[in-house]
């Protein structure tokens, strides 16, 4: 029931997203027809292109066609690859998802304990360390962190393989696609060496990406834990003599999770945005790197398709966050 309601609530966002991507590609300054006709075109061929693209029709009509195409999953053709944008994107999506999820896991695994420790001992060394890490992490551009790590860990120390893609394909063959996630597919394939190789390729980009997302997570964890630890019900738990572990995790952390889950939207926005930059740095064959080459080649359809796909992904992730919050908080379930 509540799932349906949350789904319904996501619809206006999706509609807005579709309108904006349409406007970005059809209604703004610059003449797509002139652009698609190429630099050598004359007025006649531009008009010809305009007609075939349907750009001579009124905006609402164009929007109608746009919706029809969308419904068919048709985002146009990429100029650079010559392939349908949809299949280009879908083919590269797992690489991006794997990277983003890995970064999310790293960010949570570091930020949550850091925030909890800082909140347990406010103004202690651990707290100052947390604050410093968070402030510095928020100031380092992801792409710069990525480059620094590559320079230090690959070039100087040789601890990781050359940062070019998901797997060194000279020595390893990519696993047959099941989930599209190399870390999972290599294991399903029983190829432990390839798994290790894929992991060592993934670590640097994931850590670089995670650093930036850690800041809001750690800050919120600390703040929410401080509030929770100072709350009446934690005092009750202490007065009842519950063990410290129980008080911290079952009582304080569980209620703090609500606020923490609520910043996940922002965290995803950071991750998906920075993903583009990180893929560029690490030669990661995902949709971000695809979009960057499309932008540079002025590959219109590909860029718009990318923006739309990212936005839909983001709306879905936010939906998942909402559902998670509902699962945690019985009060929300009760309201409906």
């Amino acid at each position: 029931m509540i799932v349906l309601r949350r789904l319904a609530e996501a619809v206006p966002s999706l509609v807005g997203v579709v309108i904006v991507t349409f406007l970005l590609s059809h209604a703004l300054p610059g003449d797509p027809a002139a652009y698609f006709a190429g630099p050598a075109a004359n007025a006649e061929s531009v008009a010809e292109v305009r007609r075939t693209l349907g750009l001579d029709r009124s905006l609402p009509v164009q929007f109608g066609y746009y919706l029809l195409d969308l419904a068919k999953g048709d985002l146009g053709h990429s100029l650079t690859t010559g392939q349908p944008v949809t299949s280009d994107l879908l083919q590269r999506l797992p690489a991006s998802m794997e990277l983003t999820l890995a970064a999310l896991i790293v960010a949570i695994a570091v930020a949550l304990p850091l925030g909890i420790v800082a909140a347990l001992r406010p103004n202690s060394l651990a707290d100052h360390f947390c604050r410093l890490t968070v402030t510095i992490g928020a100031a380092f551009p992801t792409f710069f962190v990525g480059l620094l790590l590559v320079y230090l860990l690959y070039f100087k120390l040789g601890l990781v393989p050359q940062p070019l893609g998901r797997l060194d394909e000279i020595y390893f063959t990519p696993p047959p696609t099941v989930t599209g996630f190399y870390l999972i597919d290599t294991l399903l394939n029983g190829d432990v060496d390839a798994f290790r190789a894929a992991l060592s390729q993934l670590i640097l980009p994931a850590v670089s990406l995670a650093l930036f997302a850690m800041a809001p997570l750690a800050r919120m964890t600390r703040a929410a834990m401080l509030t929770a630890l100072g709350s009446d019900f934690v005092r009750t738990a202490r007065a009842n003599g519950l063990p410290a572990r129980k008080v911290i995790f079952t009582y304080a952390l569980r209620s703090a999770m609500l606020s923490i889950v609520n910043v996940m939207g922002m965290v995803f926005s950071f991750l998906l945005g920075s993903n583009v930059l990180i893929e560029q740095v690490f030669g990661w064959p995902g949709i971000g790197a695809y979009a960057v080459s499309a932008v540079i080649a002025s590959d219109y359809a590909a860029v718009q398709g990318f923006v739309l796909m990212m936005a839909i992904l983001y709306v879905l992730l936010n939906l998942a966050v909402d559902l998670a919050a509902t699962a945690i908080d019985p009060r929300v379930r009760f309201e409906s």
């Binding site: 738990a237 007065a239 003599g241 519950l242 129980k246 569980r254 609500l258 945690i328 009060r331």
Partner: protein, 338 residues
């Protein structure tokens, strides 16, 4: 090490056997470090509580009642510093004991319930599970039986349909129901002392009486002692055996409840009685006590009530001021008692 605390010989029984009171707070003095200076929250606070008794700790808001309770429970926040004094439970000084041993007492021997019960329970955990958390911490009830025990605990505080309430979240229950749940939790380890910090504040008048009757009945059933903290002197008079009146970090008067209400010796006690609706002759007499509590960050005269006192005389500000014994069980901190 824990001779007085073993479950086999119930500490309260052991204490009674030796003629030691269950709880003695002795010359407890305590500060808070704040930005604006040290808040001298408690000064030479002392009282005793015998087995099976209900002692009322009464005073207006801010007089230090909760701080006293938190000191007993070891729930003070980090800004607090205990200067001097002892808190003896079954004759053993809790302040001298190691922290670990103190934690063992919490919830097991000394339990506490709070005001605003709806926020004092975990907002997103089923109340039944919250009771089980306490059971798990203090007793060897096998996991399979905990649910049954939790339901029995709810039954004991007379919650109707306890099996269904077990599944409820605090927001689904009324304030009175939440207070019963909190009492059920507090009593689940059969403590010998219950500290109730304004347990009925925020509840409506009928529910207040129901909760207080419940506490009194539970005391009679189990023989535990209660430290009842309240700002309502009339309520304390009705439910307590003895009353300690607190003002600005001082215990200003201790006496059996009926005696204190009939013949208060301290001017502050008299003002409190005049301010209770039941005793007030008219609406005008229900006037609040003049003046405010003194700012405890400033140096205080020996009598912290002197600036508010109508009977103030020059020698009141002469140190030292010690509690005077008016009767066998009647102490007052005043040079010129009524």
């Amino acid at each position: 090490m824990k001779a007085g605390l073993m479950r086999a010989t119930h500490p309260a029984e052991a204490a009674a056997a030796h003629g030691v009171p269950l709880l003695e707070v002795d010359r407890l003095t305590l500060d808070f470090a704040t930005r604006g200076g040290r808040v001298k929250a408690l000064d030479q606070v002392g009282f005793t509580l015998d087995r099976g008794q209900i002692l009322g700790l009464v005073g207006e808001s801010g007089s230090g009642k909760s701080v006293t309770a938190f000191a007993i429970m070891d729930l003070l926040d980090q800004a607090a510093r205990i200067e001097t004094g002892q808190i003896r439970f079954t004759g053993i000084d809790l302040l001298a004991r190691k922290r670990r041993a103190l934690k063992e007492l919490r919830g097991r021997e000394i339990a506490m319930i709070f005001q605003s019960p709806r926020t004092a329970l975990h907002p997103i955990r089923k109340v039944g599970h919250q009771i089980e958390d306490v059971l798990r911490a203090h007793s060897s009830v096998p996991p399979g039986l905990r649910r049954q025990k939790a339901i029995e605990a709810l039954e004991r505080v007379r919650i109707p349909d306890p099996a269904r309430r077990y599944e409820a979240y605090p927001f689904e229950l009324s304030g009175g129901m939440c207070q019963r749940v909190m009492i059920a939790m507090a009593l689940s380890a059969d403590p010998s002392l219950l500290i109730a910090d304004e347990p009925t504040t925020g509840l409506d008048v009928t529910t207040q009486a129901v909760i207080m009757d419940l506490i009194r009945d539970l005391v009679r059933e189990s023989g535990m002692s209660v430290l009842l903290i309240t700002h309502d002197l009339a309520m304390a008079g009705e439910y307590c055996d003895r009353i300690a009146v607190m003002h600005a970090g001082h215990i200003v008067e201790t006496a059996p409840a009926h005696l204190l209400l009939r013949e208060p010796a301290h001017p502050y006690s008299a003002k409190l009685i005049a301010a209770t609706p039941a005793k007030a002759a008219s609406i005008e007499a229900l006037a609040a006590i003049p003046g405010n509590l003194p700012d405890l960050r400033q140096p205080q005269p020996p009598c912290r009530f002197s600036t508010r006192c109508e009977r103030h005389r020059p020698d009141c500000d002469q140190p030292p001021l010690d509690a005077a014994r008016l009767g066998q069980d009647h102490l007052v901190l005043c040079r010129h008692p009524l």
